[in-house]
Amino acid sequence: MAVVNEAVEKTLTVTVNGREVKAAPGQTVLEVARSIGVEIPTLCHDDRLEPYGACRLCLVEVEGARGPVPACATKVGDGMTVQTNTDKIRRLRKFVIELLLSNHPLDCPVCEAAGDCRLQDYAYEYEVNMSPWGWHPLQFESRDDHPNIARNPNRCILCGRCVRICRDVMGIGCWGFTNRGYDTIIDTPYNLPLEEVGCVSCGQCISTCPVGALSMKRSRYAARHWQTDKTTTICPYCGVGCEVVVHTHRDALVRTTATVGRGVNNGNLCVKGRFGFDFQNSPDRLTAPLVRDENGDLVPTTWDVALDRVEQNFKRIKAESGGSAFAVLASAKCTNEENYVLQKFTRAVLGTNNMDHCARL
């Protein structure tokens, strides 16, 4: 609570596009602008990462400053006056996008990121038809041998987010900048396979890539971003309770993502949460009840037959030996509601407290 009180005591007043806004010390221009719904474009910024200031899209004008300043990294001061959308600023932003498109492959029709691509969005918003300096698509080659992470260096805009998320958030550092200037690409140390440089396959680099340079290999060509339905739920694996967004198309799970700024995981996921859901679409899923036939084989049947069998046997054994002849295991993978009704069933219907689950395992 101390944090809050301190912030209240030291509230700053900032003017953004003519509107007075209250802000806390330490907040950036970007944060304050967003708090009142003023969007400032960014490519190299991710709320999970420290400000970097490389893409130059978030430049804004601050009264009294020598030139445009990056909103992502500029801390607000009391009485600061900010303009986020002047002609000069829009021209500079358009310039940056033009430069980026001047060497971008423009293979959007087959790019995984299409529809979920910042560069695409901003090129549209800033009405960049084509670069005035011609089109010189990059011609890099890179390894692409990881089972889950697809790489395309020619779509890379060198925002460094993958480098920083792996180093700063994951504490690993698989990615780095290789070469200099225009020849810079993102690569692993010595161009080794990702698996050999400590990669834990979390796909965090994919999650932060604002374009299609890094994408999920196994869901390629499955469904476009706009074709999928998105449902926010909780990851069924460990007990951390990460919020995941499940993308589904027709009756299949296509991919999972997480939303920055949401949930206990704040957009982060691990290898299982990002690449571990093939079971959902597995042909081996049980789709009908099974009962053991006279040969001792488990055979598909109807719910009525199966439940009849359960009812008869439960009733018989309860009548013969009472509730204490039953043991029931609940599940650490089922919902609260399901575990509640199962223990209620055990105690109130079967009549026993022989109820446990694998909490200790």
Partner: protein, 540 residues
């Protein structure tokens, strides 16, 4: 957890004991990494050089099963140096004198001899932890899965109370729950001794409350059996029928041969799951359940946060959400239930469960105005949340402990139940790996995960491997008193000589064929999965 996930990085010192956090709780581990970046000090007590041990300022590679000795050594040094928090002890705890006497039985040097950690490192760890303004402990199964698991947990609690490192931001004791809803399954009464909300099944008031709410007379008014006891009771014929919902004891429980034998003996076995698991193979009736993507409901995570699970797809084929199946069976047995939705059930849970009293589905949609989460929108309520207007409880025990005063326990060190012998000269410790999960039912189906780790591996030191003529990646046989399995050898410096490690995810080489079910913790009935004597042989 006494504290929230986002609270972990508030600590100046983080003491991780018996938790391979980056692999078992990868996203939670990011808070530890964040704390490190912010200048926090990390102490890791783990027999293996796990990833966090490599990042730690101090790694205490204790011998498996010697947690009590290590913790007592640390506490002895704290008391010797006068670093205990006298105000906290006086105001918030009791039984301190008896506890102090119990420390007399072990010097730091004696502790060092037992656990194998240099005495100076024990002292250094004690100093770092005790003298920090804010220190958090993280622990997991490395503390609990011992026949002295309860003692281990109590020792951790002793350390936190002794130093006053509990009940505030960045100060707490945080057991990490290993499964998506293991916290909720406990909260909901999926245990032999409690109804939902830890209301004792042998407490007459609780019985009366439940009988009134459920409209029944409860037949059983005593504690029931734990899973280990159930298995023995099947052997004796006491248990005739089992109903297993979404569990796979054939792989998850110790001594697999015994579990298989037992399940074979169950007269009528019903298994409800999304796959035909190794356990379902033994069933008389298998009921197809919907996956967690195909139903609504709630999970409660390791920080006690109740969060909404939402349906994204229709159930496959004829499968149904588990609660619907349970209701169908209950009604066939005359229960007369009429739950139309998971939300209906939560209304009843809230009515009978004090900690969940203020939980409704609509409240779970709201973003919690929580200082700690200022940067992210987090939904879901952290219990205790007794009433509709209660905001939930991010930090437990900030004013007082659940029982009032914190009780110090006098604990003596007991050695592991299974010790190495000439025939079984290596200690096997089990746990999880990053890429797969629990019994592999879900993860072994994922091509992207199998491509990364396709097979069961046993981690073995270079020294042992060389001595035994074992090559990296070559198949080996691992044998204990109870059986043999054949994983591939993973020669690594993560384990020290004398120690081998395996995960229990792999049906083809199930680690739990080796582990024992004989030695249970007397209170928690938890098996000693972390210490098994084995031998390892090269397969030519």
């Amino acid at each position: 957890m006494t504290n929230s996930i986002k609270d972990l990085h508030e600590a100046q010192v983080i003491f991780v004991v018996g938790s391979n956090t980056t692999e078992a709780h990868p996203v939670l581990a990011l808070e530890v990494i964040k704390a490190l970046r912010g200048g926090a000090t990390l102490i890791v007590a783990d027999p293996r050089r796990i990833d966090l041990a490599r990042k730690a300022h101090l790694h205490l590679p204790l011998r498996p099963g010697t947690n009590v000795a290590l913790l007592k050594g640390m506490m002895r040094h704290v008391v010797d140096m006068g670093w205990q928090d006298d105000d906290f002890i006086a105001e918030r705890t009791e039984n301190y004198e008896a506890f102090c006497e119990s420390l007399e039985s072990m010097t730091v040097e004696q502790a060092s001899d037992i656990c194998g950690v240099p005495a100076d490192d024990i002292r250094r760890a004690a100093e770092l932890y005790a003298t920090a303004d804010r220190a958090n402990i993280l622990y997991a199964m490395g503390i609990t899965q011992h026949h002295t698991g309860t003692n281990n947990v109590l020792s951790v609690a002793n350390l936190a109370m002794l130093t006053g490192q509990i009940g505030g931001p960045g100060k707490g004791v945080n057991p990490l729950r290993g499964q998506s809803n293991v916290q909720g399954a406990c909260d909901m009464g999926g245990l032999p001794d409690v109804f939902s909300g830890y209301q004792k099944v042998d407490n007459p008031d609780a019985i009366a409350k439940m009988e009134a709410a459920w409209g029944v007379t409860l037949a059983d008014r005593e504690k029931g059996m734990t899973v280990m006891e159930m298995m023995h009771a099947v052997d004796t014929g006491k248990i005739r029928s089992m109903y297993i919902m979404g569990e796979n004891p054939v792989l998850s429980d110790p001594d697999q041969h015994h579990v298989e034998d037992t399940l074979g003996k169950v007269e009528f076995l019903v298994v409800q799951d999304i796959f035909l698991t190794e356990t379902a193979e033994f069933a008389d009736v298998v009921l197809p359940a919907a996956s967690s993507f195909e139903k609504d409901g709630t999970f409660t995570n390791t920080e006690r946060r109740i969060q909404r699970v939402r349906k994204a797809l229709e159930p496959r084929g004829e499968s149904m959400p588990d609660w619907r199946i349970v209701q169908s069976i209950a009604n066939r047995m005359g229960a007369g239930w009429d739950y139309r939705s998971a939300e209906d059930i939560m209304r009843e849970v809230a009515a009978v469960t004090p900690q969940y009293g203020g939980v409704t589905f609509s409240r779970l949609e709201n973003v919690i105005p929580d200082v700690e989460y200022a940067q992210t929108d987090v939904c879901g309520l952290q219990w205790p949340c007794p009433t509709d207007d209660h905001p939930g409880t991010p930090i437990l025990h900030s004013q007082q402990f659940s029982r009032g005063r914190g009780l110090f326990s006098a604990i003596e060190y007991i050695e592991p139940a299974e010790l190495v012998s000439p025939e079984y000269p290596l200690i096997l410790t089990t746990g999880r790996e990053l890429v797969h999960y629990h019994t592999g039912t879900m993860t072994r189906q994922a091509a992207g995960l199998n491509a990364l780790v396709p097979e069961a591996r046993v981690e073995i030191s270079q020294q042992d491997a060389a001595r035994l003529g074992i090559e990296h990646g070559a198949p080996v046989r691992v044998t204990s008193l109870r059986g043999s399995i054949e994983p591939v050898a993973w020669v690594t410096d993560r384990v020290s000589p004398g120690l081998v490690f395996m995960a229990f995810h792999y049906a083809e080489a199930p680690a739990n064929r080796l582990t024992g079910a004989e030695s249970l913790d007397p209170i928690a009935k938890i098996p000693e999965l972390k210490v098994t004597a084995v031998k390892v042989e090269a397969l030519s």
